[in-house]
Amino acid sequence: MAAVIDLNGVAIGYGDSAPPVLVDVTLSVERGSFVAIVGPSGVGKSTLLRVVAGLHKARTGGVTIHQDQRPAHRPVGLVFQDARLLPWRRVVKNVQLGLEGLPISAADRLRRAEEALKLVRLDGYARRWPYELSGGQRQRVGIARAMAVDPDILLMDEPFGALDAITRNNLQDELRRIHRETGKTILFVTHDLEEAVHLADRIIVLGGTPARVVRDVKNDAGRDGSVFRDQVEKLRLEIADNYSI
């Protein structure tokens, strides 16, 4: 399978002189895969996502995004932990944010925004203001906004971390469905092992000081009860080994 992104020896640090927090990340993400990056907080996983999104500069190493040639799309769609909607834009206008500046007509922008809202089951909410939505609905809008730009890769930064358990479960199921229906490549950052095992078909574990990739496993546990528990337990032990430095 073809890779969508290649990371080559990426190291991440903050400021100019502080030692790097994450080093030597070399990996490629295959088209259509659902990859989770797990690790404790402070390990630099969110920053790694920002490096892929072009919002943060890597200390060393390179990121290559193998862009598809289709017109009017953006290479990455980013979903934040706090839905991060523009409060002065109605839902449909928020979803169009990434489409502005692309060479498409206003009518096409609207059509694509409406399709994205339908994908996250929020058709009918187009004219609402963000403050009128629940936390889960806002996060759906955030996903729609990222999907509307038809990205080569969907980057998600602990998108369900701030939601209550029931809403989180719903949205996890929705995300599985969206992945199935659209075949989008997803890179998903979380500190929640169960979430990673539940969602992803490949799990990359970061750990150590400075952190590096300590495990890169194929995950087919899915939601199958005992297999699921085994997989979570197995990974938990491995991670524990790597954290107790």
Partner: protein
Amino acid sequence: MNTRTSLSLSALGVVAFLFGWEAVARSGVVPAGLLPSPSAVPTAFLAEVQRGIWQKMVVASLSHYAVGLALGTFLGVTFGTAAALWRVWDAFQSWVVRMLRPIPAIAWIPFAIIWFGVSEGAASFLIALTVFWINYYASYSAVRGVDKDLIELGHAFGQGGLIPRLFKIILPGALPGILSGLRAGLGQGWMTVVAAELFGISGLGMRMMEASGLLATNIVVLYMVTIALLYGVSDFLFMQVQARVLSWQR
């Protein structure tokens, strides 16, 4: 409390204030020349309107006000935003701002007269100056206060260039703060109108000066009430516009 009760309470407050004032004036505790009674104001109003003075003064002051307010607001918001956006520019102008800021507009009156003469321009200049500083600082802190996460959001979705960043993220995000600066300028502007006209530029302030020279205190009060009403109306209209513009707020 619903809007109706709060409106009637406000009306009641005004009526009570006028009654109290009238009572004090009629009681003879204070000599009539020192404190005109509010009931003397309508007579003065009719006389001034019949001679066409009231209308002329209101129009003159309104035009000074409008020009000064528009100019001061535009420049204040522009310079305040620019200083908040560009650190180099901010550092370059910060001490100039510090030196000029504490000088009140009325201290500029001599220069206003030297530069513009006793003219409309001088009054507008002084009003613009007052309004400028209020808007400069309001915009500066409003732009500084825009959520950095929203700016990052803009970068992530292709809106990181100066123009989209400014018009899609920063200015809308700073708008509530900028508007409260505008509103403060609206009030402060009226105060400066009077001060600016005291030295002979035609308008409400000049007429008040003339009337007080003749000890016609009822006319002075008439123009005080006029200014209060003009301010009240402009502030009310502004609030209506603001409520519409910020309807996205909870």
